[in-house]
């Protein structure tokens, strides 16, 4: 099959630019995620089986099974998995994205984002906040209690609040975040504050007393509250650009803690994977690079959609991750223009005269320049349950892109 790649890429990025992701509600995963099942565990990154899962992902799987009431404790959960009674699938196969381990189970509450332009939907779990959390592989009682509260209390309240708002336009939200010092991946402080501001009056209409106080406290204390809706918005956007025949645009980058995987628009559902690298970064007190797990999480969907590390220039507060100076942040973004097809005028970066964020990674440009996409990321401890140990930078292995190029050439020039 012969195609005009440039034309196909223009079509793919046009779909990205025209997408209008709107956060419309919250619902149990089993009710909204396509083909969700009681014994199905969705996880971050490309497909992986139990023996190859890293510590944090295993911990999150065990926690997910206990949370669902499928297993009473760790040994039972492991036995179930080993007996083949648990099904695994990447979140990405179910229109879903999840940060870090990304474990999403049937009864969990998930955000629903609708792409109003193309009608497709995407889902993501609700952010648990900091400390010991399931996404880093912790599954103590406090972790499970927090998940239950999100499912039973906050989720329904947030859903009604969003409903009464008529949905929250995530494209506008991200555009404002970027003008307020967030890049949408490692820094979401401004966006989370806006999220709280928008939801608070609606929450006050549908809740009272302790529940209202707890919901407001959750939003007030969690600088990552908006991360999961942002991820779902990016997923809904990039899914619209997937499956354009002849396009070399990268529509998905995701890690499961063992492998890094990418997908290419013109190669539809195929994954191209290589061993995930260990992020290099700054560590919380008491932790070092040796504690870091290989790269994990679906949050790279932000970079795939042109924010996160691609919008680093907009986030001077976190320039320590890129070497310490705002100039280095600027250069991080400038470098990403070298490998992208277009610029997203909806996301203007003030520090670059409101130049749009670099958007639509072109596989060919990655291979030609040898510049791999930059990714901002949190860093998980390699052992389950310890949690986040730092944050930093990582890039996908070039091998993912090399394989993809070979497959692309085979499909389109044979």
């Amino acid at each position: 099959m012969r195609v005009n790649i440039d034309e196909a890429n223009r079509e793919a990025v046009d779909r990205v630019l025209r997408s209008q992701p709107v956060l419309v509600g919250v619902a149990p995963a089993i009710e909204v995620i396509p083909r969700m099942q009681r014994n199905l565990i969705l996880h971050a990154g490309p497909p992986i089986d139990w023996p190859r899962m890293s510590g944090p992902l295993r911990g999150a799987v065990i926690g997910g099974l206990i949370f669902e009431g499928l297993a009473p404790d760790e040994p039972a959960a492991v036995a179930m998995v080993e007996a083949g009674e648990v099904a695994f699938a990447p979140c990405h196969h179910h229109q879903t994205v999840g940060p870090m381990a990304g474990v999403t189970t049937a009864s969990m509450a998930v955000y629903i984002v609708e792409n109003r332009t193309f009608g497709n939907r995407a889902f993501s779990s609700l952010n648990e906040g900091y400390g010991k959390v399931l996404r880093y592989g912790a599954y103590g009682e406090d972790v499970l209690a927090r998940l239950r509260w999100l499912r039973d209390v906050f989720g329904p309240l947030a859903h009604r609040a969003l409903e009464s708002l008529g949905g929250l336009d995530m494209k506008t939200m991200i555009a404002q975040q970027i003008q307020m010092g967030d890049e949408g991946h490692n820094r979401n402080r401004a966006g989370s504050a806006m999220f709280a501001r928008v939801l608070a009056p609606q929450l006050a209409r549908v809740a009272a007393g302790d529940n209202l106080a707890a919901a407001l406290a959750y939003l007030a204390e969690n600088d990552l509250a908006i991360l999961n809706p942002v991820m779902a918005a990016c997923k809904a956007t990039m899914d619209a650009a997937a499956g354009v025949d002849g396009s070399t645009v990268v529509t998905c980058m995701a890690r499961n803690g063992t492998d890094f995987g990418i997908r290419i628009s013109g190669l539809h559902d195929a994954w191209f994977t290589a061993p995930a690298e260990v992020p290099v970064g700054l560590f919380f007190p008491g932790f070092t690079q040796d504690d870091a797990n290989p790269d994990i999480g679906d949050s790279t969907i932000t970079e795939t959609a042109g924010i996160g590390a691609f919008a680093m220039a907009a986030a001077p507060a976190i320039v320590k991750f890129v070497g310490g100076s705002p100039q280095m942040a600027l250069e991080s973004t400038l470098e990403m223009y070298e490998i992208t097809v277009t610029e997203n005028p909806a996301f203007g970066i003030p520090q670059l005269d409101f130049r749009g964020t670099p958007t639509g990674i072109d596989l060919r440009k990655v291979i030609k320049t040898g510049i791999t996409p930059r990714v901002n990321t949190g860093i998980a401890h390699r052992k389950p349950g310890i949690g986040q140990v730092g944050a930093g930078l990582v890039r996908p292995p070039i091998a993912c892109f090399e394989q993809a190029l070979e497959a692309f050439a085979e499909r389109y020039t044979a």
Binding site: E338, G370, F408
Partner: protein, 588 residues
């Protein structure tokens, strides 16, 4: 004594940067020898010959940087390795820490609004790809790189023609746009003489002599050495000629190159004729008929003189030789019979071969006029010999002799020791891109050469032609004075230098062959292509340049006040041929 190496995976540096750093590392205390190269097979062979091949170096891949030193102590070796790395990351010409260095031509163009020309000097096998990127970005191209495949050259020129753009090169060493010298170029006055040059040094000589004759240059457009061959058919020469014909700032055009393929030459002359502007033609050694606005010249000096006369109305003063050939010849020992020419400029070498035949008969060379005068080995002179030291066989792992004089100095001393050497002929090319002070190395070499000959009872005349202007960065007058003080006879006109050497050898017993220039007649429709876009977008003012490759070109452009942005170029796909091929296949 110890040999130590360090490998930096996937770290590309251009060969000039590496060789300059290598030179600095070699003179560090305790260091005996050093090699800084990319880990290609050819480079590893060179290291092996130099005894610098460690097992680690043997395993290096072609996109790995290899640093290896031989030193008297472990300490010295370690320090040298570290220093080598420091020298390589030093970026003296970057415009401060705040400047982002673009990685692709497209993003460089964004950084330099109004950019109109790409100056490309990356290794040959990557050069066509970069040139395509530049044409895609709407830039005219000067392709300094050589070793570009002929079919790539043809494709690039076809692509450029379709877009109204000009491709100068590949293997285009010299160009000047509105006063800005690109590549190897001299600082010359602005004026109304335009040059189309298929020969780099030829363009330098003509432009320098135009300046010395009191006139100036509008533009000098290069074509690349193969453009006038049958395979390319003079595409760029015709487009450059048409552009200068259409350029309101150009009154007289000089067309200079080695003799073209006959049909290409005929077509070119037809295109040059009757343009309303005089066209001076010097196809070194070819006979061109006068008339119809064509002014044939038989030497580079004559081409410059005719052009100056055409714009100023008066013949520039001839710089007559004061040397007396018969006297010089009378002082030679009986064994001293032959001329030995060691050239850094390819066109000058070619012109010397053509002119010398008239005085001394056949002249041997590594770039011979005919197969019968080819040297068996470029390393050994035979009878009358003139060598192009810039030819490929001398350039493996070496800088051009205009920058690095070592090989030529070595050869000069060998020729001086040869009792058959009657006279040595040298060229010194000044200007941007060339050695910053050529006489510094050449003067002691000439002195040594003459002394060694004298110790063996021979008087050795050394004749030097200097190509340059009083505005070149090297200080022409100081260069000439230093060479003269060293005992050299310095001629500013190359034909005079050659004539002098020829007459000395003739007086010493050689016999010339009659001049047999190849006659060329204009033929063909002589229709000029539409070059309005070249005229309007390239010739209308100082160029705004995207530099891809050698950092020294960025420095020399910046020194001339030309706006330039350099691409932080790396080989595509990390130099992995498999992926380069796949990309080409997809983009075909």
């Amino acid at each position: 004594m110890t040999v130590r190496s360090r490998i930096k995976p996937s770290a590309y540096f251009d060969s000039v940067t590496l060789m300059l750093a290598q030179r600095d590392v070699r003179v560090l205390p305790g260091v005996v020898d050093a090699g800084l190269v990319m880990g290609t097979e050819a480079n590893k062979d060179l290291l092996k010959d130099a005894g610098l091949l460690t097992p680690e170096v043997s395993a290096a891949r072609s996109d790995d940087l290899v640093i290896v030193v031989r030193a008297e102590t472990e300490d010295a070796a370690g320090q040298a390795l570290t220093r080598a790395e420091e020298l390589l990351v030093r970026r003296p010409h970057a415009a401060g820490p705040s400047a982002y260095r673009p990685r692709t031509v497209a993003s460089a163009v964004r950084q330099l609004p109004g950019a109109n020309l790409a100056l490309i000097s990356v290794p040959g096998r990557f050069a066509a790809g970069v040139a395509r990127d530049a044409l895609d970005a709407g830039l005219h191209v000067m392709l300094f790189s050589d070793n570009v495949a002929l079919e790539d050259e043809r494709d690039l020129k076809t692509l450029a023609t379709g877009r109204g753009l000009l491709v100068m090169g590949p293997d285009c060493g010299t160009a000047m746009i509105a006063g800005a010298g690109l590549g190897f170029a001299n600082h010359v006055r602005s004026g109304t003489i335009g040059v189309v040059g298929a020969a780099g040094t030829g363009t330098q000589v003509v432009t320098s002599l135009v300046h010395r004759g009191g006139a100036g240059i509008s533009h000098a457009l290069g074509t690349g050495s193969r453009d006038l061959g049958g395979a390319i058919g003079g595409v760029s020469a015709v487009r450059a000629l048409a552009a200068l014909a259409a350029d309101p700032g150009t009154e007289v055009i000089v067309l200079v190159g080695k003799p073209p393929a006959p049909d290409v030459a005929a077509g070119l002359l037809a295109a040059a004729r009757g343009r309303g502007k005089p066209v001076v033609v010097d196809f070194v050694g070819a006979a061109v008929p006068a008339g119809g606005g064509l002014y044939p010249a038989s030497t580079l000096d004559e081409a410059a003189r005719i052009a100056v006369r055409l714009v100023t109305g008066s013949e520039p003063a001839r710089e007559e030789s004061r040397a007396l050939p018969a006297q010089e010849a009378a002082r030679l020992a009986p064994s001293q019979r032959y001329i030995r020419g060691l050239y850094s400029g390819g066109t000058l070498c070619y012109e010397a071969l053509v002119l010398l035949e008239r005085y001394v008969g056949p002249v041997f060379s590594n770039t011979p006029l005919q197969p019968s005068t080819a040297l068996a080995s470029a390393a050994r002179s035979r009878s009358h010999t003139v060598i192009d030291m810039g030819a490929d066989e001398f350039m493996v792992g070496r800088l051009h002799p205009m920058i690095d004089p070592d090989l030529r100095i070595e050869r000069l001393l060998r020729e001086a020791d040869d009792p058959e050497t009657a006279v040595v002929l040298l060229d010194v090319v000044l200007g941007y891109g060339a050695h910053s002070d050529p006489s510094r190395d050449l003067v002691p070499a000439i002195e040594t050469a003459r002394r060694r000959a004298a110790e063996s009872g021979r008087r050795l005349p050394v004749i030097v032609t200097v190509c340059g202007t009083d505005e070149d960065p090297q200080d022409l007058r100081a260069q000439v004075e230093a060479l003269t003080a060293a005992g050299a006879v310095v001629e500013t006109a190359h034909s005079e230098a050659v004539r002098l050497a020829g007459l000395i050898a003739e007086a010493a017993g050689s016999r010339g062959a009659p001049y047999r220039g190849v006659p060329i007649e204009p033929a063909g429709a002589g229709i000029l292509p539409d070059v309005s876009h070249i005229r309007d977008s390239l010739l209308s003012g100082p160029p705004r340049v995207i530099n891809v490759g050698l950092g020294l070109f960025e420095e020399s452009l910046a020194a001339q006040g030309v706006e330039v942005v350099s691409v932080d170029w790396q080989p595509p796909a990390g130099g992995k041929q498999k992926y380069i091929d796949l990309l080409n296949k997809l983009n075909a």
